[in-house]
């Protein structure tokens, strides 16, 4: 870019950096992924105060500030509460590569839980997807599972 006096305005680039991190999933989060891997089953946790079942399970209910310990089995089916068909290109900071588009991500209320679960939905035609539709989780084969969120491939609409 040039300024008013035709002087070139320079920028400096950071270059390609690899920045690996490692995150603890925690006690209940680890249980959640083990349950998916071994039994293809979702786990939530019930708050003793508000009685809400939250997924993924965690140690504390934010609004109630209560310690949680009652794990609850959930269905692998649920209802779409919100979604978007993502259509613009961007770099995934986890991989440093462009995330394949278009894809649909949404928030699903799993049967038996009171909050919503964020994941992919395998329908990219916005005329064929609606808030309120029922969906079902599709899992990876057990041998391919790695104990992370991608052990659930996506949710598919039950038609």
């Amino acid at each position: 870019m040039q300024d008013g006096k035709n002087q070139e305005l320079l920028t400096l680039n950071s270059g390609d950096l690899a920045m690996p991190y490692e995150w603890s999933i925690g006690l209940y989060g680890s249980r959640f992924f083990q349950e998916i891997r071994e039994k293809r089953r979702f786990l939530g946790i019930r708050c003793p105060k508000c009685q809400k079942v939250l997924v993924p399970p965690r140690r504390i209910c934010g609004p109630c500030f209560q310690k949680l310990d009652e794990l609850v089995e959930l269905s692998d089916q649920g209802t779409i509460k919100a979604f978007s068909v993502v259509n613009y290109p961007f770099i995934d900071p986890a991989t440093g590569r462009q995330r394949p588009i278009p894809y649909t991500y949404g928030y699903i209320n799993l049967d038996g839980s009171d909050n919503i679960f964020s994941h992919l939905i395998n329908e990219i035609d916005e005329s064929k997807i609606k808030v309120g539709m029922k969906v079902r989780a599709v899992f990876k084969d057990q041998a391919e599972m790695e104990g992370n969120i991608q052990d659930i491939r996506y949710f598919e609409i039950i038609r």
Binding site: L9, A82, S84, I116, S118, V131
Partner: protein, 386 residues
């Protein structure tokens, strides 16, 4: 008992998508210089500074330490506040607390961002939970889009309804020489025909990426009246942070944090009917659908009535309650400065310094901030000392 506090001066940069003519420090300095000039103070008059931005955007953290010659903070108490999109209002409210506490008389609040220097979407994605959300999360636009999808289903609102909000913002921006997108008005058709970024959000439904900074001077009662002929008195402010689990957001109850923050400021300011009692509102509306849903949450109209309120022109200049005479976030979004710009623009209106974007005879103004995991701040200002 807290001291009364007023805004006595504001300054902002000329906002552009790329400000290659300045580095971060110089950008900050541009806003600070203008704010000091606005209230005829020098940096020596300033007792303390609160500064903020979106920490990891420019990949140069600790702005409080590296920008001292830009902020004027040499040998002064400086505090950094970073709360995501709310940063600007959080900075303002922290500056207010500094003065209200009685510890400082004149405090400078600064917000800034050079979004051209970062991968904004990549940086925003790193705000999401790395274990649970980051794999599917795709930054600000789709997360707002999901909210829009739920709102449309709940109340039958349409993409055209949202487009009407975008048209208002860009029409208002024509009056604001500082706005990034102040060049030309847009039509509903323009919005509808713009590229679909993330259903139902199209290119013209959402804010731009901006380089810019804003600075605001707060002063205590006794000092404020001497500095400014018409100070903008802070009547009430509130901060609400919601759950950080994205999955704990209830899309059907409105924006809970904004609801709670606004209820608190209305109560403190004695406001019962916001549309009648507020003269202007500078709202942090990062996308068009927020201009429908969030005004319901703010009590400007009933649930599901946002579209009707907008179409009837109540929020246009000359309407019952003009919203965003500046052109709002959809015309300028230098994220760490964005909510401070709402604060500054609301103060400008009370001080009568709005030039072409001035709403006549403003006595009470509302400014809001929005950010991160559905956080909200709200500030009410008054021309009368509370």
């Amino acid at each position: 008992m807290a001291r009364r506090v007023a805004i006595v001066g504001t300054g902002q940069t000329h906002h552009r998508s790329h400000r290659l003519d300045v580095n971060g420090r110089e950008l900050i300095h541009e806003a600070v210089e203008r704010a000091l000039k606005d209230c005829e103070l020098t940096i020596r008059d300033i007792d303390a500074i609160v500064i903020g931005n979106m920490d990891h955007f420019e990949s140069i953290n600790y702005v409080d330490t590296w920008s001292v010659e830009g902020s004027g903070g040499y040998m002064k108490p400086i505090m950094k506040v970073t709360t995501g999109g709310t940063t600007g209002t959080s900075v303002a409210i922290a500056a207010y607390y500094h003065v209200a506490s009685g510890l400082f008389d004149k405090v400078l609040a600064i917000g800034w961002e050079k979004n051209s220097e970062s991968d904004t979407t990549g940086a925003i994605i790193t705000c999401s939970d790395p274990v649970w959300d980051r794999f599917s999360y795709s930054g600000a636009i789709p997360s707002l889009a999901t909210e829009a999808s739920a709102y449309m289903e709940q109340y039958g609102a349409t993409q055209e309804d949202a487009a009407r909000v975008a048209v208002r913002e860009r029409t208002h921006a024509m009056n604001n020489p500082y706005a990034q997108l102040h060049g030309r008005p847009i039509t509903i058709k323009d919005v509808m025909e713009s590229a679909m970024l993330a259903y139902p959000i199209k290119l013209l439904d959402v804010c731009p990426r901006t380089d810019g900074a804003c600075a605001v001077v707060f002063a205590a009662e006794g000092t404020a009246e001497r500095i400014a002929p018409k100070p903008a008195w802070i009547k009430a402010c509130a901060v609400r942070h919601a759950a950080t689990w994205f999955g704990d957001v209830d899309y059907n109850t409105g924006l809970l944090s904004l609801k709670r923050a606004s209820l608190e400021v209305y109560e403190k300011a004695g406001i019962r009917h916001p549309v009648e009692e507020l003269d202007v509102a500078e709202l942090y509306l990062p996308y068009s659908y927020a201009g429908l849903k969030w005004i319901e949450v703010l009590g400007f109209c009933g649930p599901g009535e946002g579209p009707k309120f907008i179409w009837e022109g109540h929020s246009d200049m000359g309407g019952k309650l003009p919203i965003n005479p500046s052109g709002g976030v959809m015309s300028t979004n230098c994220i760490g400065a964005t909510a401070l710009l709402r604060t500054a623009e609301a103060a400008l209106q009370i001080m009568g310094k709005g030039d072409k974007r001035q709403v006549p005879d403003v006595k009470t103004a509302l400014a809001t901030g929005f950010g991160g995991c559905w956080w909200s701040d709200a500030i009410i200002m008054s021309s009368k000392k509370p």
